[in-house]
Symmetry: C3
Subunit: 271 residues, 3 copies
């Protein structure tokens, strides 16, 4: 597939989200629930937040994708994530995992490794520090922020994708998406995204929406990151600070069409 064909498929995926309005079942953290529900709606899908073990297996059967985000994890929630993830696997619903803060504490690292092992998510979307920490190849995490640089981010992403048999979407100044074989770099986005809490979580929620309509998860993940990043570029001229940037970002995501996304997506296949 050429870069241009990839951009086209990404734009078509956005249109398909709007046409089919898939349900995106999210078991996510308290900090971002409102944000990720809103962005899910504005990208064209329907969000549902449900975490009780009494209902997650039933809810996920209605969904086009499952998003697991243990950003404010505790044992009951992790158990619900596992149950939901296993039910998703059983009924063919793709799962996207966001290993928030992996590497910061032993509990976060171990929980995310267990989720990867038990749930076998179709996509893992994290920052370089989190991915490296889960691989045990270094990487620094301060709370939930990645600090310090990896020597070779695309190689780390590929290594992780192979180790976990999944698609890895590693976000940073340059984003990398890979299934261990194919790899895409995405150059959309800007620094304003780093001034808001939970934009990584938001990227994960958008990835859920794309994964619900596009079964090539490399394309779906690249599409989600291009979508959020390009909307951030469109919003930037309105930003006088993080408050006004956030307003403009949500407006931009809502107003972005598939055709515009195809034109604005900066996606490039890597060797």
């Amino acid at each position: 597939m050429t870069n241009q064909a990839l951009a086209q498929q990404i734009g078509q995926a956005l249109d398909k989200i709007r046409d089919t309005k898939p349900l995106v079942h999210q078991i996510t953290n308290y900090v971002v629930m409102n944000d990720t529900a809103n962005v899910t709606l504005q990208v064209g899908a329907l969000p549902v937040m449900a975490h009780a073990k009494e209902e997650v297996a039933e809810m996920v059967q209605l969904a086009g994708a499952l998003v697991l985000n243990p950003g404010t994890l505790e044992p009951d929630w992790v158990e619900a994530m596992t149950t939901a993830g296993e039910a998703a696997k059983a009924c063919g619903v793709p799962t996207v995992l966001d290993p928030v803060g992996a590497g910061a504490t032993t509990y976060r690292t171990e929980t995310n490794l267990q989720l990867i092992s038990h749930v076998q998510p179709e996509v893992v979307r994290g920052n370089p520090g989190e991915i490296a920490a889960l691989l045990g190849v270094g990487g620094q995490v301060k709370g939930v922020e990645s600090v310090g640089d990896l020597d070779d981010p695309p190689a780390v992403a590929r290594h992780a994708a192979k180790a976990w048999s999944t698609t890895v979407a590693m976000t940073g100044v340059r984003d990398y998406v890979t299934d261990g074989d194919r790899a895409v770099a995405i150059d959309n986005g800007n620094q304003w995204l780093t001034t808001l809490t939970g934009t990584g979580c938001t990227a994960t929620a958008v990835t859920g929406a794309f994964a619900a309509v596009e079964s090539d998860f490399v394309v779906a993940s690249a599409g989600a990151l291009a979508c959020l990043g390009y909307a951030a570029e469109l919003a930037a001229p309105e930003a006088k600070g993080p408050g006004s940037f956030k307003v403009a970002l949500y407006d931009a995501i809502y107003n972005l069409t598939g055709e515009q996304l195809t034109q604005g997506a900066k996606v490039e296949w890597l060797e």
Copy 2:
């Protein structure tokens, strides 16, 4: 009461909220807590979020109304809602229930039916899919969104109000409020409300504020829906998307006076 007299009583209720600043005790879902607390403040009341069984019965005695919203339900929270609802009944505090996502899973449907039965809420505020699902007369719920149309929404609302001995506020393109006997249609609002998560929950919180000052719960519920819907109309010219709409909506709720609401309310008694 004429339609004009109803609009007047609604405007007066808004003024009374501002004058008396009733406490609205909310046991609600994680997604909307910040939004419903803000809207409660901006309509003129005081919000308090408290869900521990150690304190809910004591807290609700200080309140003018109780709002129960099991949108991110789990057993401990449902137990607290039941305890709070029973305490509210014992001390004459009206309860407004929002059966979020009833019909989507068995757990949601059964929990909401139990809450209706044990708590006997003064108002049930839901969308057509949720109300119909609880009645067992069809209706489709996709996650927490109502999809598909009912044949005769006002008849379903009346049926529910009679079955549950409550006031039902059923929101949609046209809103219906009925106690099974009297019925009002409200035509305020616009499509921007559907681009934000939790506007139903917001309507429920505002209903709590109105129910704290207006003991005719048909008037209170119609007032809340007219208030939120008219504020949405006033906000629409500022909206470039859901982000800027939300900002303008909160500004509009805060700035709306009782007199303006009386003039802007599109409320009509039905036969």
Copy 3:
């Protein structure tokens, strides 16, 4: 120290937050988590929300400050707050406590007294009603809002600081910060802050960021309140209501420099 020297130290503290990006570990309430995480980022620090007893003691060791806010308290969370607070004490990380709604219910009052006793926070940031209720000297709390006036707020604050061997930051139209010996009044801020939910909690989060870089907790607390209050003053001309005020407030906090804060801070040592 002169008032001018205090203002200078406050401006330098803000610069130091931006230079060192301390991690502020927050165990806080559901209503404000998104807001306090964002404001923490925008003031220049890194927020992390983590409440599981499996990780709080490990997480707090990475932090520059710990913020405890039992605004939506329940036993498991209170236990985690105690564990985190004790670990913070053991490793020299300062703790800021926000006794949200103390006085409204017995459970809130007792929990906050226990946290003060077990955790020995370096700063207690509350409104006059909460502080007075915890001291048992009257004060009225309606839900989580302070209502009614104390006769002599600075005396109450001093009394509390001495009783609890801490720095008390008591916010109101005029803010008072005291360690029982020295006392500062802060006159920044405006009425718009009262139209948003959780601005007290936001003040507490900002206090955490300042306490992470300034070990004189009277200066740190006064600095945080001047910072938030002055940003509110800068935001006011943009406000058409609470929605647009909040956007402008977040922009203003992000854009505020240490030098501007030194010039805008209205801080005064009291006898």
